[in-house]
Symmetry: C2
Subunit: 78 residues, 2 copies
Amino acid sequence: MKARIYVTLKEGVLDPAGKAVVGGVHALGYSEVSEVRIGKFFEMELKDSSDGERIREMCGQLLANPVIEDFRIELGNS
Amino acid sequence: MKARIYVTLKEGVLDPAGKAVVGGVHALGYSEVSEVRIGKFFEMELKDSSDGERIREMCGQLLANPVIEDFRIELGNS
């Protein structure tokens, strides 16, 4: 069983690294990019019997900071 | 127009941060997790007329290190 977890900054939280990427892509000539926000992406290998609710609880405790971040989980077999 | 870019380490490339997360979740009692690999996730706001092929080229130049990382792009409107 696999879990894919996407951690993103909540709306309204500043993302200076994202702003730096915008500066970088503009410097390379890609002016079509207007905003970038950077998040984290975890691919997790789980035992087949794992409980999705427990995994969600774990993400809130360890992988995301609920004060400034949101997360989304996809559970699947590949 | 929006692009979502997922950057992951190539298979075979060691991920010490992922190993640290495995140690952390085991210490919290989540023994069902056997492997974690950490990647990056970019959400990009683009002009509507943007060319997907150009965006792909940009990712290879700036957002991912093609020696050790793979990336995947999703283009869409939301």
